[in-house]
């Protein structure tokens, strides 16, 4: 009986040294939690630092300097912010951005909710409809906005043609060449593009609501509207708030859509903060002033996000 045991331990001894040796190398490194954590985090930190932190710090620095294209600037304090604040175009752009964000969000939420409620029902071809809903969202904004610009074209506009042929108008509408129309056109396109995101997210939220609750409510005497208002809406509120926060952030800092659709015109009437910052900073070359303009978005978004997250936390508590 003793011999096999002795043989067994002898074999272990032979194998043991290389194993411990390997442990002392890379193996030991991986065993050390701190070291491992640092190693795993490094790529992320590097990427975030390179593409988020560096541009942000750079932007803040630019905003505080009089840098322009071909001219390394020097520190000028808050002069750029002061200048922007007294700039009537900036004020228009700021007001436009608020207006654009507010209405687009309201429309996206209302229509997205309506669509989500429709899609939450059972019907033939439900999956294909749900999937195709996302199309406006996944087509690159620049492409779809070009299509919209064509539809809004003063001469060849399909919309004008339809309205005219339908007898709704007698003179063709100047969709994008009139400031008042232009802003509403932009809001319409933004709504069209952003609504699927609302609809899909809210639909996901709707599907987590136990259908028994609706049945219980209908037995409790609630009609369709009461069921929505007393059951669906309160239970959907957390999801809704998150979507609205995301949407406000995206809409407030929107650039592509206006840049392609109107370029901020006519006569700066549809400029948003982002497009105006681009025009001043890049097109004109006043990098410092452009950076300052775009930084005006920060406090606004910060307050919005803070308020909504606080409300959300209270809701969940």
């Amino acid at each position: 009986m003793k011999k096999p045991i002795a043989g067994g331990s002898a074999r272990v001894e032979v194998l043991a040294p290389p194993r411990t040796a390997r442990r002392g190398g890379a193996g030991a490194w991986l065993e050390n939690e701190r070291l491992l954590a640092a190693m795993l985090l490094t790529p992320t930190v590097l990427l975030l630092g390179l593409f988020i932190a560096y541009p942000f710090v750079m932007g803040v620095w630019l905003a505080l300097s009089n840098t322009s294209v071909g001219n390394v600037g020097e520190f000028v304090g808050l002069r750029n912010f002061y200048k922007a604040w007294n700039d009537s175009i900036f004020r228009t752009a700021f007001w436009n951005t608020t207006w654009y964000t507010a209405w687009a969000t309201v429309f996206k939420l209302t229509l997205g909710m309506w669509l989500a409620l429709l899609l939450n029902r059972s019907f033939r071809g439900k999956r294909i409809v749900r999937a195709s809903m996302l199309l406006p969202f996944i087509v690159p904004t620049v492409l779809s906005t070009f299509a919209w610009r064509w539809m809004f074209d003063p001469t060849f506009s399909v919309l004008n043609w339809l309205l005219y042929r339908g007898g709704f108008i007698t003179t063709k509408l100047p969709f994008l060449s009139d400031g008042a129309y232009g802003m509403w056109c932009a809001i319409a396109v933004n709504t069209w593009r952003g609504m699927p995101f609302f609809a899909i997210t809210l639909l996901a939220g709707l599907q987590t609501i136990n259908p028994d609750l609706h049945e219980a409510a209908s037995l409790d005497g609630a009609n369709g509207w009461h069921r929505f208002w007393n059951v669906t809406w309160p239970l959907l509120k957390p999801v809704t708030l998150v979507v609205v926060v995301f949407s406000i952030i995206q809409t407030f800092s929107d650039f592509q859509l206006i840049y392609v659709l109107t370029g901020g015109g006519p006569a700066n009437s549809t400029h948003l903060i982002a497009t105006y910052a681009y025009q001043v900073g890049v097109a004109t070359g006043l990098l410092g002033e452009g950076a300052a303009i775009s930084l005006f978005m920060l406090p606004v978004l910060f307050v919005v996000v803070w308020l909504q997250l606080r409300y959300l936390r209270r809701l969940e508590a």
């Binding site: 609750l213 409790d220 007393n230």
Partner: protein
């Protein structure tokens, strides 16, 4: 308070015929239980009564109103759901008050009714809590409370106790029965648990594959099942079944299988004679099999070998093999019996309580 009448009720989904020609008269103030295995159509029947499921064919009357086309809210019924379906964002008070608010009751009356119901159910302390802060049993009470504040004509219960643990289930069962005695509202209760059905129902409706199998008072179902399914479904442990051949030798009718030869009592002999030479299903409940004594006539006894002994305290269940056969029979015997595994024993059956079923139709003979 009202009676409920179902006439030739049918429900068809695309492929499935879930409820078939259900005819049922539920009397005013009656507590009726629909019981059956899953997929038997009991829940669908209840949901049609609630108005949550469309009726394919047939009629439902509540009181003297035909309710086929009435939406749930106009049927004057209240339902307790299996998962309680409490509104998670509302307090217990608001959950119970919701139905009254929707029906525009004055605030004072709502308050009065909710307090009364809460007191009845012993949940006064919980009125300000949210459902997620409650235990399963408390949620169950709130769900019942939400139903009773409305003073509906009919209560519907959809497996309301199945999410509770065994002990709580027994306790709530008793409370529901007390509650019904007190409120005297017609109640329709769906369950797959035959013990719940037997203990709660004034009458029990056994369903299978969409058909009603039998309607009757609990003990009537137990003593006189109309077919083999009901016989096997009602009772725990279940009735013993064995295939036996009917013989008639000189006027003495016997039922025989390997290791089993029983003399059929005169009351059944007449009907069974028609099955002479044929095989029929024989059934006997565990409590109708006992250790044979000298008083048992030889024609009602058989030899058996004990295979499993299950002592339950108040009684012992013996799983035995009859003679040399493969037929296993469960006998419910006195706790004083000291049989061990592999013991050979002599058992006897109670001649008054033997059941025979037609081999093809499975109807009781």
């Amino acid at each position: 308070m009202a009676q409920v009448l179902m006439k030739d009720l049918n429900k068809k989904y695309d492929e499935v015929h879930a409820v078939k020609d259900v005819n049922l008269h539920i009397r005013d103030k009656e507590f009726i239980v629909l019981v059956g295995p899953s997929g038997c159509g009991k829940t669908t029947t209840l949901r049609m009564l609630a108005g949550l499921e469309e009726i394919t064919a047939g009629e439902i009357h509540i009181g003297d109103r035909l309710v086929n086309d009435l939406p749930p809210k106009d049927r004057d019924i209240a339902m307790v759901f299996q998962n309680y379906a409490l509104y998670p964002h509302m307090t217990v008070y608001d959950n119970m008050a919701f139905g009254l608010k929707m029906r525009k009751f004055p605030r004072a009356e709502i308050e009065q009714r909710v307090r009364d119901a809460a007191q009845l159910l012993g949940i006064q302390e919980l009125l300000k809590r949210k459902p997620r802060q409650l235990s399963g049993g408390q949620r169950q009470r709130v769900a019942v409370g939400r139903a009773i504040v409305r003073h509906p004509q009919v209560f519907l219960f959809d497996e309301p106790l199945s999410n509770l643990d065994a002990k709580l289930r027994v306790q709530m069962r008793v409370e529901l029965k007390k509650l019904h005695n007190r409120l005297e509202t017609t109640a329709v209760y769906v369950t797959h648990d035959q013990v719940e059905a037997m203990t709660l129902g004034d009458r029990v409706v056994v369903m299978k594959d969409g058909w009603i199998q039998q309607v009757g008072e609990p003990l009537e179902l137990y003593a006189h099942p109309v077919n083999k399914f009901v016989a096997g479904f009602i009772g725990s442990p279940a009735m013993n079944f064995a295939d036996v051949t009917i013989n008639d030798t000189g006027g003495v009718v016997t039922a025989e299988s390997q290791g089993l030869r029983l003399q059929v009592p005169p009351a059944k002999a007449g009907a069974l004679r028609a099955y002479k030479g044929q095989s029929v299903a024989f059934g006997v409940r565990p409590e109708d099999v006992h250790i044979a004594t000298g008083a048992d006539p030889a024609g009602l006894t058989f030899d058996a070998v004990v295979e499993v002994v299950e002592p339950l305290g108040s009684e012992i269940l013996l799983d035995v093999r009859a003679g040399s056969s493969t037929t296993t029979i469960v006998a419910r015997v006195e706790p004083t019996v000291r049989s061990k595994v592999k013991d050979s024993i002599k058992l006897a059956v109670n001649p008054e309580r033997l059941h025979f079923f037609d081999p093809k139709t499975e109807q009781a003979i």
